[in-house]
């Protein structure tokens, strides 16, 4: 399957993008329907496919923030009006519609046209734009190509990514996004040093389900931050045979958000800060490399901890939705008690699950190198494990 990418350097397309951006840059204060009317003029006169132009319009609409607060006075007035119209129409016979309108106008004390215009003035088409996040025409066109892939991935059940060693920020965000989207990742590495990461969800073992399509589509931008990558996914569009999508970094897809890498969630930053205040020897930082696990398996922790003596260990936190991955990790680590590669933090909400409780009770690895936490780990719990490691 070959996606229908557009050429972001195409002058005609850049021109169209610029024209549309001009409308949206002047959109603050205008209603949704006014903005759509103005962009329709450009779309209708464009020499390109109208579908493509409407795709650009949609991407720009998504960057608009509209005023959505309910107008309580309007809602109250509407209710009273409907009570009046209900009574009028059920009790009186009107010779004409105009006669009914006149009777209502008299009750309202204003022309019927004004009443009708006000009646549904809070519909989405009448909402006013508050803010537009602008960007360049070239970035809009690149964004279109990424959105096109995301649309295809909505219809995928799984995807496989092949990649080599990466910049640590990129790895970190990649795996953070994987965990956030509750996707399962099977990681292996071949002799040439290429990692193969298969991403899907638990039920995809049995079922051709599109349950994970949305997760895969929203996860995909994380792939674009890797410097070298190749992606394969089988796409199941309705009423068509499945087709294989194959892409790599050479197609020129660009990541669309710099904030993606820069953002560190507040609780993580807080934990790091607190830990470092309480501990002077061990150094903590967001993890920057894979951890080798038994067989061909690899893991990617949340944090890396290093001691001046050269000892190093990862810290991996399992939150409420990580039951399956925790089981898997406990199994992988069961023979590694003596030289633990990972400390394991488990959210108390997850530990309430009787099956998880049983797993944790069974695991001598967890007894030695694990701890429970609420929301985020406490430095004290981590330090207790590190003390045992240093002994």
């Amino acid at each position: 399957m070959k996606p229908d990418f557009i050429d972001p350097a195409n002058r005609a397309l850049i021109g169209l993008a610029e024209n549309l951006l001009a409308v949206f840059r002047e959109s603050v204060g205008k209603t949704r329907s006014q903005i759509e009317e103005e962009s329709k003029v450009i779309i209708d006169s464009a020499e390109t496919s109208a579908l493509f132009a409407r795709g650009l319009e949609k991407l720009l609409m998504d960057r608009l923030e509209f005023e959505t607060a309910a107008d309580e006075d309007l809602i109250a007035w509407r209710h009273q009006l409907f009570l009046q119209t209900s009574q009028l129409l059920s009790r009186e016979a009107f010779p004409t519609l105009d006669a009914y309108h006149q009777a209502l106008a008299n009750q309202q004390g204003k022309p019927i046209g004004t009443v009708a215009d006000t009646l549904f003035s809070d519909l989405p088409e009448n909402q006013r734009a508050l803010h537009f996040r602008s960007f360049s025409a070239e970035r809009l066109l690149h964004r279109y190509n990424v959105a096109h892939v995301q649309w295809l991935l909505l219809n995928a059940h799984a995807l496989t990514i092949s990649t080599k060693q990466q910049d640590t920020k990129a790895w970190r965000q990649f795996f953070r996004h994987l965990r956030f989207h509750q996707l399962l990742a099977d990681i292996s590495k071949n002799k040439a040093g290429t990692f193969k990461i298969t991403v899907d969800g638990p039920i995809s073992l049995f079922q051709q389900t599109k349950k994970y399509g949305l997760s895969l589509a929203t996860f995909f931008p994380a792939v674009l931050h890797l410097s070298e990558w190749k992606l394969q996914a089988d796409i199941h569009l309705r009423n068509r045979k499945p087709k294989r999508l194959v892409l790599d970094h050479t197609v020129g897809l660009r990541p669309y958000s710099g904030h993606f890498l820069a953002h560190i969630p507040e609780e993580i930053a807080m934990f790091q800060k607190l830990f470092q205040v309480q501990e002077t020897e061990w150094k903590i930082a967001p993890a920057d490399d894979f951890i080798r696990l038994p067989g061909d398996a690899y893991g990617f922790a949340d944090f890396g901890l290093e001691h001046p003596s050269g000892k190093a260990v990862g810290l991996e936190c399992f939150h409420a939705w990580h039951g399956g991955p925790l089981n898997h990790r406990l199994k992988q680590l069961k023979d590694l008690e003596e030289i633990p590669p990972l400390l394991l933090g488990v959210d108390r909400k997850l530990a309430k699950d009787p099956a998880i409780t049983a797993r944790l009770e069974e695991s001598s690895y967890f007894r030695k190198w694990g701890f429970l936490f609420r929301e985020m780990p406490s430095p004290k719990a981590v330090l207790k494990c590190l003390k045992a490691l240093s002994a």
Binding site: F82, L83, T85, L89, I203, L205, T209, A320, G323, G324
Partner: protein, 463 residues
């Protein structure tokens, strides 16, 4: 320590069977179970839970069930309910079917009351799936009336989980991976929605052993009702609209009113329809084929002639659905039915709001704010609002028992939609006779749409 005992665990819509060996699985052939190379465990979709537990028990295999997180719970009714005879038969058929199955009842026949009976009888935490927020509120009201329990809600901004919880299908889908083991009984209202590519996950990912599907129209154009029966335990009871008319359902009439386009509308309609049909012919597009519509959308976007044909399609469609003469017909019907409770159905929101502005009437669409939706429906039920305009959101399920007149201004060719709309006005009341009016623009494509949607026994005697 559990030793070597097989242990079941719920994991994101699936069951993991710890310590089940390959040899044991070869012998037992537990339903739905496969080896998962990714996690090195045996795994099955959660909906096989009932069958797996029964197989383990039958084979006297010791096991620990850590999968389900619910227990039996007494759910007595505030007041006893005496079911109608067909409700009692449906109840008995469902019990005999192992407390699972699909029950087909016409709209207005009291399927919610049947569900209440079965909830009380089953005595398990129960999750009810509904297609719309309005139905969610309706179910909450009914359950609150019958049970002395807090009623949870998922959807429409609510997120409260209780032993009895009502969820929209969309919200249930989001929570299925975490909550699939929290309920022992799942009910799917308007269950013909369930086999859709996304919603099916709500049936696959729950381990609830007791299941009920409710619908007036199980048939789907894609034939997937077979999957519906597979996931919910088969079709266990059916009763048709004509079997209940005059008793449980109000007697009714259906009247078709043909509207002439005015001269200007006729000229534009003929020209734009010709433009649209010519384009289909020149591009060899067959709109009856499964990909007809997508092909038309794509090809029409490529050229100026195509865009013109697309605009022509929209114009001729709008003229047939929203002909000026229809407004006059609606006005006449409103005058004729002064004092009645009237529902006006349109094909799209634009037409609904146009009628709302024209006649200064309340309009209920997906754009109506949540608080106002409830207020509109409450006012309509109480008779404070006598007329309500809607596009599609009231097609299904919403109970407006006093409504006795339905005006279908425009609609799709869907049989289901047409039967459901009729159902909105059929709730029996002493002395009530319901009427459904169909407004059809004469000599337009609407004629064929109307013919298609009337292919149901509810409309047979009016053809």
């Amino acid at each position: 320590m559990l030793g070597n005992m097989t242990e079941l665990q719920f994991d994101k819509g699936t069951l993991i069977l710890h310590r089940l060996t390959q040899e044991e699985q070869q012998t037992l052939q537990l339903a739905g179970v496969q080896w998962d190379q990714r996690t090195q465990t045996h795994r099955a979709p959660a909906w096989y839970y009932r069958e797996i537990i029964l197989q383990l028990r039958q084979n006297e295999v010791a096991h620990e069930d850590h999968a389900k997180s619910f227990e039996p719970v007494a759910l007595p009714l505030k007041k006893p309910i005496t079911p109608r005879s067909f409700q009692a038969k449906a109840r008995d058929a469902w019990i005999e079917n192992g407390k699972q199955g699909v029950v087909v009842l016409p709209t207005g026949a009291g399927k919610t009351v049947l569900a209440v009976l079965l909830i009380s009888l089953t005595e398990r935490p129960t999750l009810i799936h509904v297609p719309t927020i309005d139905l969610m509120h309706q179910w909450i009201d009914v359950l609150s009336a019958h049970f002395d329990e807090p009623i949870g809600a998922l959807g429409g901004g609510s997120h409260e989980i209780e032993r009895l919880t009502v969820s929209t299908y969309d919200s249930a889908l989001i929570h299925a991976t975490h909550k699939g083991n929290a309920f022992g009984f799942v009910i799917y209202d308007e269950c013909h929605h369930l086999p859709s590519e996304q919603y099916q996950f709500t049936a696959l990912a729950t381990l609830a052993p007791f299941r009920l599907g409710l619908t007036a129209t199980p048939e789907r154009a894609d034939g997937r009702e077979a999957q519906l029966y597979e996931w919910l335990g088969g079709l266990c009871f059916t009763i048709h609209i004509d079997e209940l008319e005059g008793n449980t359902l109000a007697p009714y009439d259906v009247e078709t009113i043909e509207i002439d386009l005015n001269d200007e509308e006729r000229a534009i309609y003929d020209e734009t329809r010709a433009n649209y049909i010519d384009f289909l012919r020149s591009e060899h597009i067959n709109m009856s084929s499964p990909r007809g519509w997508q092909t038309f959308i794509y090809r029409s976007s490529l050229t100026p002639e195509g865009r013109q044909a697309f605009q022509a399609y929209l114009t001729q469609k709008r003229l047939s659905q929203a002909a000026a003469g229809k407004e006059e017909a609606i006005w006449n019907l409103l005058q004729q039915h002064r004092g009645d409770l009237i529902l006006i159905f349109t094909q799209d929101n634009d037409m609904a709001y146009r009628l709302g502005r024209r006649f200064l009437l309340p309009v209920l669409t997906h754009q109506t704010k949540v608080k106002e939706r409830k207020a509109f429906l409450d006012a309509f039920r109480a008779g404070d609002y006598r007329i309500l305009v809607t596009s599609k959101v009231l097609n299904e399920g919403v109970d407006v028992p006093e409504a006795n007149v339905a005006i279908v201004v425009s609609g799709s060719g869907s049989i289901r939609e047409h039967v459901q709309r009729l159902g909105r006005v059929l709730r029996a009341r002493p002395g009530k006779r319901a009427t459904l009016y169909e407004l059809i623009a004469r000599d337009t494509g609407e004629y064929y749409i109307n013919e298609r949607r009337r292919q149901h026994r509810a409309y047979e005697r009016f053809s």
